[in-house]
């Protein structure tokens, strides 16, 4: 039946039975929404060829052809007047939709509502074209806008009428199925409604103290319509139409990001989404644009249909206070980070309501204050200490903790403590990563030392140097250690661990000294004398021992904050060993020097030997400095 005829038929009959009224009103609501979206789209900028409301039109039982023509050929003249073929008819039809909705509400209430009638009288004029298929551009935005405070618009009236329809419908004789108000359902409607409610009930607890999530289901012609009012503060609603072979989700929102969130949460399995395409905020005066988003599943597979319905039901609770949560989280991270946290929390069955209810940003701020001051400098941002990724993960954990604790009936204090512990754990992990990098550096230092030792021993045996490429290998090791130092410093800074930088620097310098010593040792002639060579050999072993002790100290330091007494003991013993090596290397360098001077050898050989000794000794100095920094950090951990 052509749409207009259907409307007239309904309008002609005053005595509507309740289900028919609801049905008529809801159908009119669908059409009105699409028509307003078309107006907005036609009046907006962008490429006319890409304007498309086919899916939405089909869902609302409108002729897609006509709508397409209107959209594609719409032109704004001088930015003042919007001209489009069929525009006049569309405006007229929009007016008729409103009439139907008004009539339906009256029929259900049993009486006229003067307030609504008055509003309609006021706004009607806005739907009159200024010429054939023309309307002032500013008028378009007045029709479609949702003014916040005080103002009124056709769109707001449509939404209010819709709410009234729902309310009236709910007041009618109805049955309750699985917690939803059901009006005039057929037997085959139960299964899909139950699937939806299953999902809804599963995640309902995550709503905590917030009102909302009431569901109304009604049969409307060949379709089952399931509506949910989500929260109550935002005038946004999701309507799902179920018919044989397809499910269509219609969702309106003023926040594009939230609509995108819902689409992401529900996923694309079988669902085709439209409506989020680039709709520039119109260059027209005033008014917020809104988004009419449609998700459609075309399938005869009942299991797939029920799966989509269940997922939708389960996802709605995460729309409540979504924007509020996003703003709060963006203050701690940034907008993209906030959206990731919210999506993660929804996917992991935690949501953001518990966190908001327990204090939101304040909750975290208090936990941070508890954990500080030793750890987080005053005024330091979370992402300065944990890095961007680390902050996102931490916030995800916070939302999870809040949901878990609130579900178990725990207190705000408990969540705060747990969040504090979580933060501490993450800071320690960042520290551990730095120390593991230092262990790598020290290990490479040890290997260069071992290579020099092998060379010295080969010279002592007066054996052939059977390892030609060893100096080049030492150079490669040094280059690798340099890269590790650069990465380590970046990581330490990102985590705000500036106290650990001297450890990384010390290890890096030690490697550099050893590589230099390796180079000189590679050209060291063998006729430098056994006494000198023996001394160099012992110096190599000292440098290696120092590096080993640094590894031990670093490893023990990782465990120290949470660890046992033995960890602190191991660390301190190793740090003492580092100092011992440095002092012994000092003495040994002088011995080598003395031995070299008293030996009757060619000057060149001696200089090379002494430079090698100096490099080895200096490496122990640098390792000792690194050790010092570890000790300072350790004392802070143990004492503070």
């Amino acid at each position: 039946m052509p749409v207009k005829d259907a409307v007239l038929e309904y309008l002609g009959e005053r005595a509507l039975s309740a289900p028919q009224s609801v049905s008529a009103g809801l159908a009119a609501n669908d059409r009105a929404k699409v028509r307003m979206a078309a107006l907005q789209l036609a009046g907006g900028g962008g490429d006319p060829a890409s304007r498309n409301l086919d899916q939405e039109a089909a869902a609302a039982r409108l002729d897609p052809e006509a709508l397409r023509r209107l959209l594609r050929q719409a032109r704004a003249m001088d930015g003042q007047v919007l001209l489009a073929p069929g525009l006049g008819d569309l405006l007229k039809a929009l007016g008729e939709d409103l009439e139907v909705m008004l009539q339906s509400v009256e029929a259900l209430d049993g009486a006229e509502d003067p307030g609504l009638t008055a509003r309609w009288s006021e706004l009607k004029a806005g739907l009159i074209p200024t010429g054939p298929d023309q309307i002032a551009a500013a008028t378009v935005s007045r029709i479609t806008a949702l003014p916040k405070a005080g103002g009124d618009s056709i769109h707001r009236l449509v939404m209010d009428l819709h709410k009234r329809l729902n309310h009236a419908a709910a007041a009618q004789a109805s049955e309750t199925i699985a917690g939803a108000k059901a009006i005039g359902l057929r037997p085959e409607d139960r299964a899909p409604l139950l699937a939806f409610m299953r999902g809804l009930e599963r995640t309902r607890p995550l709503k905590f103290d917030h009102p909302g999530l009431d569901t109304t289901a009604a049969r409307s012609g060949e379709r089952l319509l399931i509506q949910n009012d989500i929260g109550t503060t935002d005038a946004h609603v999701v309507v799902t139409a179920v018919e044989p072979g397809s499910v269509t989700i219609t969702y309106t929102d003023v926040h594009r990001a939230r609509a995108r969130f819902l689409i992401r949460l529900l996923g694309m399995d079988g669902l085709v989404w439209s409506g989020l395409e680039e709709r520039q905020a119109p260059g027209l005066a005033g008014g917020d644009s809104f988004y009419l988003v449609t998700g459609r599943l075309v399938s005869d597979d009942i299991a797939q249909r029920d799966d989509v319905l269940e997922r939708l039901g389960a996802g709605l609770v995460f729309l409540i206070d979504w924007n509020k949560a996003r703003k709060a989280l963006a203050g701690l991270s940034d907008k993209p980070g906030a959206e990731r946290v919210l999506l993660w929390a929804a996917r992991h069955g935690a949501g953001h309501r518990a966190w908001l209810q327990l204090g939101g940003v304040d909750l975290i701020a208090q936990a941070v204050r508890q954990v500080a001051p030793g750890r987080l400098g005053f005024g330091a941002r979370l992402d300065q200490v944990l890095g961007h990724e680390g902050t996102v993960e931490f916030l995800q954990a916070c939302l999870q903790l809040a949901a878990d604790v609130l579900r178990q009936g725990g207190s705000e204090r408990l969540v705060r403590d747990r969040i504090g512990a979580e933060l501490l754990r993450r800071i320690e992990r960042a520290e551990a990563a730095v120390f593991l990098g230092v262990i790598r550096q020290a290990g490479l230092a040890r290997e260069i030392g071992a290579a020099i030792l092998a060379r010295i021993e080969a010279l002592r045996r007066a054996g052939a140097d059977d390892d030609a490429g060893w100096a080049a290998r030492a150079k490669r090791i040094e280059a690798k250690a340099d890269r590790l130092a650069i990465e380590g410093r970046a990581a330490a800074r990102a985590a705000g661990l500036v106290d650990l930088l001297p450890i990384i620097d010390g290890a890096e310098q030690a490697v550099d000294e050893l590589e230099q010593a390796a180079f000189i040792a590679s050209i060291l002639p063998s006729d430098v004398g056994e006494a000198v060579l023996a001394g160099l050999s012992r110096l190599c072993r000292l440098a290696m021992s120092a590096a080993e002790a640094l590894v031990t100290a670093a490893d023990a330091s990782i465990d120290c904050p949470e660890g046992r007494q033995v960890d602190a003991d191991d660390a301190l013993a190793a740090l003492t060993a580092v100092v011992d090596c440095e002092q012994a290397a000092d003495r040994l360098e002088r011995e080598v020097f003395a031995a070299g001077l008293t030996a009757d050898r060619p000057a060149g050989a001696l200089i090379a030997a002494l430079e090698t000794a100096r490099g080895l000794e200096r490496s122990t100095d640098w390792i000792a400095r690194a050790g010092d920094a570890i000790r300072r950090n350790l004392m802070t951990d143990l004492g503070g």
Binding site: G443, R446, A450, L453, A454, E457, G463, A556, A574
Partner: protein, 532 residues
């Protein structure tokens, strides 16, 4: 059953296997043996038969044994700070070199790795142990194709311009281990993070290897089918891969090919035992050890003399050096060629180590035809040269794997088996062939031992050898040889020749006469060796 200062010094071989029995005797001689415990051969039979109590007995045995090892070594299995790592090795009553399984560095969990870092301060050692553990566990316990992990190694060797794993630095080894774990995860497998689970699975794998194809084949070929099973010896690890003063090797108290009374030592620095006996790396001789660690070299000679005297026979020991300290991991009666057996028996009798009756007993077990020495007639130019591993000469058609050797032999042709590295999986091929040639490996590798015992001339470590298994050809010193072509090898000189050569045979006249003189008057004289 414990092995160590307070262990049983002379347990039954049938029960604990030859390896453990000998270890116990070594410990009793106060030689430096790392503490160990043994799970008996009877448990092997019970487990493989699926007996009800066997699993529980295994667990309890491992728990008790671990407690002992931890006390003896002063370390804790799987510990975060002072970790104990162990080797899990097979040992039947009769030695079956390379036929059964071994898993090393067991207990090397991620936590234990941190412990190694803490305790030794040597990241390269820690990651090398972890690498070895993952490789061994994946192949032996998880029964995964070695290629799964090996291709990561190949990638890293190229990325780091390294010739072999021993050239990779600690940081590269750390990342290699990460790559190994990813490969395992991608294959839906993982090495257990719990140390005891690792140990249990390893012990089961070793017990299970009793029934592997090559073990069954070896037992059949050597007439050992009556044995009930293998024992499992769990021993504290010693780190031959710790540094440049560490290594692992094998030593014979006398030359097992010729019987000459001179020790033969092969050593690999910065390596663990498996590297030598697997035949995958070519080791260095005693002279290298004497140069780098003269004290250790001297100590090995002393140990060899001591064990030979104690056991009354030529010994083959496995040793590990950790930072200049020598440890003896194993001793057994050396596998020797028949000719060497003759010479050794006579020498030991002359030195008073054994009496004439014992000497004759050993000699009479030798087959006359095996005592014949072979050499090539005429002169020829060698096309390549390798390391002589088992004496004698052989001339035959080229076979590039065991099945080819077996097929050719069945068809009546003498076959020379040529492999890149002689793995003991080739035992059927060894048996079918008249000679063996390998590209890498040492003369003390398991494979060489087996060849020696089977009296097949063997040349190893023949470097100028490039095998193309798809085309079934070999590039030998610049010349291409197809499978089926004639090749001749000389196990005394290590030379390889193209084509067929005539073989001269000679009985050891002098030694046989010497043996004859040992016999009581009027006794049956050993028949003169017939020259076929």
């Amino acid at each position: 059953m414990r092995i160590g200062p307070d262990g049983d010094p002379a347990p039954s071989r049938d029960l604990v296997g030859g390896k453990a029995a000998n270890l116990a005797r070594l410990a009793a001689l106060n030689l430096p043996v790392p503490p160990a415990f043994v799970l008996p051969t009877t448990l092997c039979a019970a487990l493989n038969a699926g007996e009800a109590q066997a699993e529980e007995q295994l667990r309890r045995g491992l728990e008790k044994g671990l407690a002992y090892l931890e006390r003896a070594a002063g370390l804790t299995f799987g510990d975060r700070r002072r970790p104990l790592l162990v080797s899990v090795r097979s040992g039947a009553a009769v030695s079956m070199p390379g036929m059964l399984e071994t898993v090393l560095n067991v207990g090397c969990t991620k936590a234990a790795l941190r412990g190694l870092l803490r305790w030794r301060g040597n990241p390269r050692l820690a990651w090398d142990c972890r690498r070895r553990f993952l490789e061994g566990y994946a192949e032996t316990v998880l029964s995964l194709d070695p290629q799964l992990l090996e291709r990561n190694l190949a990638h890293w060797l190229t990325a780091e311009t390294a010739a072999g794993e021993h050239d990779l630095d600690g940081e590269a080894l750390e990342r290699l281990c990460g790559a190994y774990e990813e490969s395992l995860a991608a294959a839906d497998r993982a090495a257990p993070e719990d140390a005891f689970t690792q140990l249990l699975a390893s012990a089961k794998a070793v017990f299970g290897s009793w029934n592997s194809e090559r073990a069954i084949a070896y037992r059949r070929l050597q007439g050992l089918e009556h044995l009930p099973g293998t024992a499992v010896t769990v021993q504290a690890m010693v780190f031959g891969n710790a540094d440049a003063e560490s290594g692992a090797g094998v030593a014979f108290s006398r030359n097992p090919s010729t019987g000459a009374p001179e020790p033969v030592v092969d050593v690999l620095f910065e390596a663990q035992g498996e590297d030598v006996v697997s035949g995958r790396r070519s080791p260095e001789p005693e002279s290298a050890l004497a140069l780098r660690a003269p004290a250790v070299a001297a100590q090995i000679r002393a140990v060899l003399a001591q064990v030979e005297a104690a056991f009354g026979d030529v010994q083959d020991i496995e040793f590990t050096i950790e930072s200049g300290r020598l440890y003896v991991l194993q001793t057994r009666s050396a596998k020797r060629t028949p000719r060497a057996a003759l010479r050794i028996a006579l020498d030991l009798q002359a030195e008073g180590v054994i009496d004439a009756a014992e000497a004759l007993d050993r000699i009479d077990r030798l087959k006359t035809e095996d005592l014949v020495a072979t050499r090539f007639s005429g002169q020829a130019k060698a096309v390549a040269r390798g390391e002589p591993a088992a004496p004698g000469v052989a001339s035959g058609r080229l076979a590039l794997d065991s099945p080819a050797a077996v097929r050719g032999a069945a068809a009546g042709d003498p076959m020379v088996l040529l492999r890149r590295d002689a793995s003991t999986a080739d035992v059927e091929g060894f048996n079918a062939a008249v000679g063996v040639l390998t590209a890498i490996g040492g003369r003390t590798a398991h494979a060489a031992l087996v060849a020696r015992q089977m009296n097949k001339p063997c040349v190893v470590s023949c470097a100028p050898l490039q095998i193309d298994m798809t085309a079934r050809t070999v590039r030998l010193g610049g010349v291409e040889v197809r499978e089926g072509d004639w090749l001749s090898v000389d196990g005394e000189t290590g030379e390889v020749f193209l084509g067929r050569r005539d073989i001269l045979r000679q009985a050891p006249e002098a030694e046989l006469e010497q043996a004859a003189r040992l016999r009581p008057a009027g006794a049956h004289v050993h028949a003169e060796a017939a020259v076929p």
